[in-house]
Amino acid sequence: MSTHSDDRYYVPHGSHWPVVGSIGLLFLMVGVSTWLNGAAPGFYIMLLGFAIMIFMITGWFGTVINESVNGLYNSQVDKSFRQGMFWFIFSEVMFFAAFFGALFYARNMSIPWLGGDSNNFFTNLLLWEGYESTWPSNGPGNVGGDYDVMGPFGLPLINTALLLTSSVTLTIAHHALIEGKRLQVNIFLAATFILGFIFVYLQGVEYMHAYNDLNLKLTSGIYGSTFFMLTGFHGMHVTIGAIMLTIIWFRVIKGHFTADNHFGFEAVAWYWHFVDVVWIGLYVFVYWM
């Protein structure tokens, strides 16, 4: 096993995974588009694209893990990975910002204006007579029909507790890794992704409840739109995060990480904390206020 020293730069050899990824994206995007346009084969093209993407991700990460385990990377490469992950998470934050922006705009601008606020007296009188602005709202057209609001207590509160606890267990696992307590890492990391998967499951239960009992749907006006798009994208990120944590768990068992060299672990941990922070924003602004 050779180790690359810090006084020489490391440049990786060529790789076919990027092009495989592009082909995967091509099938995925063309598949989804044709499917949405109502052509049945689109669904299968989409699945094929998805499969290629999974194949690419496993292959690409596999290559990088092999190179890392075999000591090809120096501390500069490690720093590049860290900074890259940081900026990736920043881009994710901005993606959620767009949807939070939509939520705030709807609550503070469009709904009050439809109710005649500011200088919109005639908007209300001529177009939406009798509509009084409130939040939550499915708009003056009562789009999606009457519904009940998803309150902040019950499942959402339990989910908040689960996710916050999972951040704590993850931090304990991280400290244990630094101190070399292998068993403790295994247990607390497992606890973290199990809590994550329970969260996803309960979110599913909550969605069933919303659809079946509350008549609260994606189509329930702007409230339904923002509720399901925000919690949906968040849930998707939790799912991805929990899968990543599971993989990291297996990697811990295989002994991939040392006390001072465990970027993969930390990257996923950052991601998990990011998902956690987004949830706090969701809980406050979507469920609670």
Binding site: Y9, V30, N37, A97, Y223
Partner: protein, 533 residues
């Protein structure tokens, strides 16, 4: 698995030349090869988008409908914009960044070379999908590149393809930007402090930050369009409590930083070229850095000046008007510094310098018409007229595109190892400059007289200026073939020295021309002559 890694190790150590065949390009991890691919891709898109502009100008050459259906005309304006913005200008700057940033900061390559390759290879997929919409039932998107609902929701089968191609462009830009930032922060030669960095590197650092901040917002906005169309959400539906105007807010929160994404690297290129051909260091290097940072910050709080006529509270109009005009201050700093760099310099006028000088003049014209548009009460008159078209084409064509051309001529000897044909370059410059003004200057008058944009026909009172603009456009389009001629003959010129120009100061001129496949395997030592003080 272990043997595979051993092979990898071998391969790495022996990897001192380019791979053979198509694999060199498909599997590349070399910043120079990837930079070349970006630049060639961008040039192809420039001609495809340019051909669409030719369709537009041919139709508008005389009043009445002659060549194309109005629906197809609208597809042309929409696709021309999308292709030029995301396919030509942005990839050209990413190509320059790929080629030059590692050379300018003494790095061996980009920080994340494989991701770099993926950033590029997503683009052909994205634009393949986008261009394929021209052949779909209902045609290509025709609602304008801004994709405003509810109009864009009337797009035919092309609609989801439009959305997903925008997603792909965004993914590509974000990955490219992450790479640029990490390269600049983490891969600089040990003595290259932040304020010693060349301006091109600085402007790209700021641009990359803007890209990571706003491309995901665009992705969010088009995702909302998609769910509104197919999954029954109400983001842009007033009956459901949403608002079509909300799309415009989210879009322009992306859109305004986006216009600085297309001009900041241009500032950087020009800030490299003017000192070289004035034989003086850049005047006020640090103030240029601060000015670019100010522009970047302000770009986040001016978006609604694109929407003065759509309806917003009076205080909103005031705020966005004043914030927008504030941008004139840092931009003025930059223009002042370029002029002060030239002041009493021993100037010569090779093609890169000519393009840069034209940039300073003509971009300033575009900047001033921008100030006029920033005035909320005046904008009510100018909005959606050819005055707007004149404004943004002045900042994008003799602005961004001229800076790209200037950069290409400036660094071409470093890329090919040969001097390009200077005479041909100068002819390219003069024809481009004359025709670009012939095309876009009359549009100011058309707009002030009230000619609306995005229409295939117009009142006969606008005929003369439109004919002049169309002649200019055809001339400008043909002039660009000269650039292709310059590129095709670029290997025939005299051998270039490492320095190429007269005592340029940045690091890329310390490596041989053409730059070897791998440069700076070990960190270079900087002497006092490098960088700015």
């Amino acid at each position: 698995m272990t043997t595979a890694v051993a092979d990898t190790l071998e391969e790495h150590h022996d990897d001192h030349g380019p791979a053979k065949g198509i694999g060199r390009w498909l599997f590349s991890t070399n910043h120079k090869d990837i930079g070349t691919m970006y630049l060639v891709f961008s040039l192809c898109m420039f001609f495809i988008g340019g051909a669409m502009a030719m369709v537009i100008r041919s139709e508008l050459a005389i009043p009445g409908l002659q060549f194309v259906h109005p629906e197809f005309f609208n597809q042309m304006t929409t696709m021309h914009a999308l292709i030029m913005v995301f396919g030509a200008v942005m990839p050209a700057f990413v190509g320059l960044a790929n080629w030059m940033i590692p050379l300018m900061i003494g790095a061996p390559d980009m920080a994340l070379p494989r991701m770099n390759n993926w950033s590029f290879w997503i683009l052909p997929v994205a634009f393949g999908i986008l261009l394929s919409t021209l052949f779909m039932p209902g045609g290509a998107p025709a609602g304008g590149w801004t994709m405003y609902p509810p109009l864009v929701l009337q797009t035919g089968d092309a609609f989801p393809f439009l959305i997903f191609s925008v997603h792909l462009m965004g993914i590509s830009s974000i990955m490219g930007s992450i790479n640029v930032i990490v390269t600049i922060i983490n891969m600089r030669a040990p003595d290259m402090t932040l304020l010693k960095m060349p301006m091109f590197v600085w402007t790209w650092l700021i641009t990359a930050y803007l890209l990571i901040a706003v491309m995901p917002v665009l992705a969010g906005a088009v995702t909302m369009l998609l769910t509104d169309q197919f999954f029954g959400t109400s983001f842009f539906l007033a009956a459901g409590g949403g608002d079509p105007v909300m799309f415009q807010h989210i879009f322009w929160f992306f859109g305004h930083p986006e216009v600085y994404i297309m001009i900041l690297p241009a500032f950087g290129v020009v800030s490299e070229i003017i000192p070289t051909f004035s034989r003086k260091p850049l005047f006020g290097h640090d103030s240029m850095v601060y000015a670019a940072s100010c522009i970047a910050f302000l770009s986040f709080i001016v978006w609604a000046h694109h929407m003065f006529t759509v309806g917003m509270p009076f205080t909103g109009q005031l705020f966005f008007m004043f914030a927008t005009m504030l941008i004139a201050v840092p931009t003025g700093v930059k223009i002042f510094n370029w002029v002060a760099t030239m002041w009493r310099g021993a100037m010569t006028f090779e093609t890169p310098m000519l393009f840069s000088l034209a940039f300073v003049f003509l971009f300033t014209i575009g900047g001033f018409s921008g100030l006029m548009l920033a005035l909320a009460p005046a904008d009510v008159q100018y909005h959606d007229t050819y005055f707007v078209v004149a404004h943004f084409h002045y900042v994008l064509v003799p602005g961004s595109v001229f800076a790209i051309m200037a950069g290409a001529y400036y660094w071409l000897p470093k890329w090919t190892g040969h001097m390009y044909n200077e005479t041909l370059g100068k002819i390219h410059f003069w024809t481009s400059t004359i025709f670009v003004n012939l095309t876009f200057f009359p549009m100011h008058f058309l707009g002030l007289a009230g000619m609306p944009r995005r229409i295939p026909d117009y009142s006969t009172q606008f005929a003369d200026f439109n004919t002049i603009a169309s002649i200019g456009a055809i001339g400008f389009g043909l002039s660009q073939l000269l650039f292709v001629a310059v590129l095709l003959t670029s290997k025939r010129g005299a051998k270039a020295t490492a320095e190429v120009w007269d005592n340029p100061t940045t690091l890329e001129w310390t490596v041989p021309s053409p730059a070897p496949f791998h440069t700076f395997d070990t960190p270079p030592k900087l002497d006092d002559s490098v960088g700015f003080h």
